[in-house]
Structure formats: C-alpha cells, structure tokens
Amino acid sequence: MKFVTAMCAGLLFGAGLLLSGMTDPANVLGFLDIFGAWRPQLALVMAAAVFVTAPAFLYVRRSGQNARGEPVELPDRRRIDGPLIVGASLFGIGWGLSGICPGPGIVLLSTRSGIVFVFMGAVIAGMALLPLVRRATERG
C-alpha cells in the first residue's frame, strides 16, 4: 500500500513538473534571468504548489500524525546553520548553470539524452561526495 500511494504521489508530481513547463531548462533559466527576458512561470508554479500543500502540513503539524493515524515527525523549522547556507548557495550556483534541479533531472532521463545522464550521474556523485568530504574535514 505504501508503494502504491508513494507512486501515485510521484505520478502527480511528475505530471505537474511536465505540465508546468519546469522540465524545460529555458523556462527555469528564463525565471532566474531577472535582467533579461524574464519568464515568471516558476513563481506561479511554486505559489500554486505551496498553496495546495500547505493545508496538508497544517493538518500533520497540528495532529502530529498523517491521514492514516500514523505518527509523523516533521523536519526542524528553525535551525539555521552553516551547512544550510553553504549547501543552498552551492545548489543555487549549480542550478543556475543548467536550469535543472533534481526533480526535472529525473523526469528528463526519459528523453534518453546523454547530457541528462551526465548531469544526473554528477548529481549522484556530488551527493556521494558529501560523507567523504565530511570525514576528511573531521580528520584534518
């Protein structure tokens, strides 16, 4: 059952990315290019997504459980630290270079385009790199 609901969630999410045009890097880079021919779509996509998701979070936050009555622990909402800022900064630079973030990257694997596989391979390598860097800095 958990697989079925998670897959349905993924299907909705993937269909949304596709319909919204956010799988096209031109739309994302167009949004980020505020000094060029600005494309505001991404702001509408995010606003609509947040608007629809917010009531679900309100329910879980207030009740401490999901719709099945299982306890849910939500992520910390206040902690602000170095890794958050540095990580978000680096992610933004990478995102600005290609106009692709992890969700659209996975969706675009469907095009079987070699450069998308290079991108997603590098995303996975970057993720795998973090524990190695952490271990190295702890030792040094």
Binding site: A9, A48, G94, V116, A122
Partner: protein
C-alpha cells in the same frame, strides 16, 4: 507569458502540490526529490520501497507523454559541473527546490525560507554572470 502558459503553470503547480500532499498525508513523508534520491543512493537503512516507487512515478508521465527535447546549456563538462554542485549542495543543505522550496515553505519553515532565498539568490547571480557579464 501567454494565458495558456499561466494556466499550465498554475495547474502544474497544483499537481506538484497534490503529489507532495499525498506523500505527506498517506506516507507521512516529505516530497523532497534530492532527499529521496540521496537516501536511495546511500542505501539508508529502513524503508527504500516507497522512495523507489516515488521516483518511478516521477518519470512515468514523461515516459508516456514525452518531455519534448529540451536544450541544456553548455557541453557535457558544463552539465557535469552543474550536477556536482546540485548534488553536493542539496546534500549539504538538506534539500532542493521541492524539499525546501515547496514542502518547507508549505510547512511555514523559517529554515526552508532562508534556504530558498539563498539558492534563488545564487542562481540568479550565476545566470547573470553567465548571460550578462563581459567575462563570458
């Protein structure tokens, strides 16, 4: 921006929200794509099935409907540099556009709001440098 683009953006965003709400309400999980992918590749102990199911679901609409042939800027080295920064940055910052940008903001999280402002800021700066500065 045409009226069609506005409706597609709003309806697409609503679908993304419906997916995030579904995963939260029925699985008790956050629909953060970088977090889900990261936990799959790190083979984190515990439930992997729902994560893999979500990622399969994510790509299926594009496999059926097609995602067009969007053009990525730059060559393969450019894509590799971008991917490394995206992977490392989202792992270090615990989230991406979906985890912080959609779910975090929907959860009224100050932490996610800051992360979103920071990655939007550096992304805008990067695009500015690439597209408008004399250096490139």
């Amino acid at each position: 921006m045409t009226t069609t683009q506005i409706w597609h953006a709003l309806a697409g965003g609503a679908l993304i929200g419906a997916g995030s709400a579904t995963l939260l309400l029925l699985n008790g999980r956050i629909a953060g794509v970088s977090g889900i992918l990261g936990n799959v590749i790190r083979a984190t102990a515990g439930e992997q099935g729902w994560r893999i199911a979500f990622l399969i679901g994510l790509i299926v609409p594009a496999l059926i409907l097609g995602a067009g042939s969007p053009l990525l800027p730059g060559d393969w080295r450019w894509a590799m540099a971008s991917g490394l920064l995206v992977g490392f940055g989202t792992a270090l910052g615990s989230g991406c556009t979906s985890g912080h940008g959609v779910c975090g903001l929907a959860n009224l999280s100050a932490r996610s709001l800051l992360a979103t402002l920071v990655f939007m800021g550096t992304a805008v700066f990067t695009v500015f440098v690439v597209r408008h500065s004399a250096a490139t």
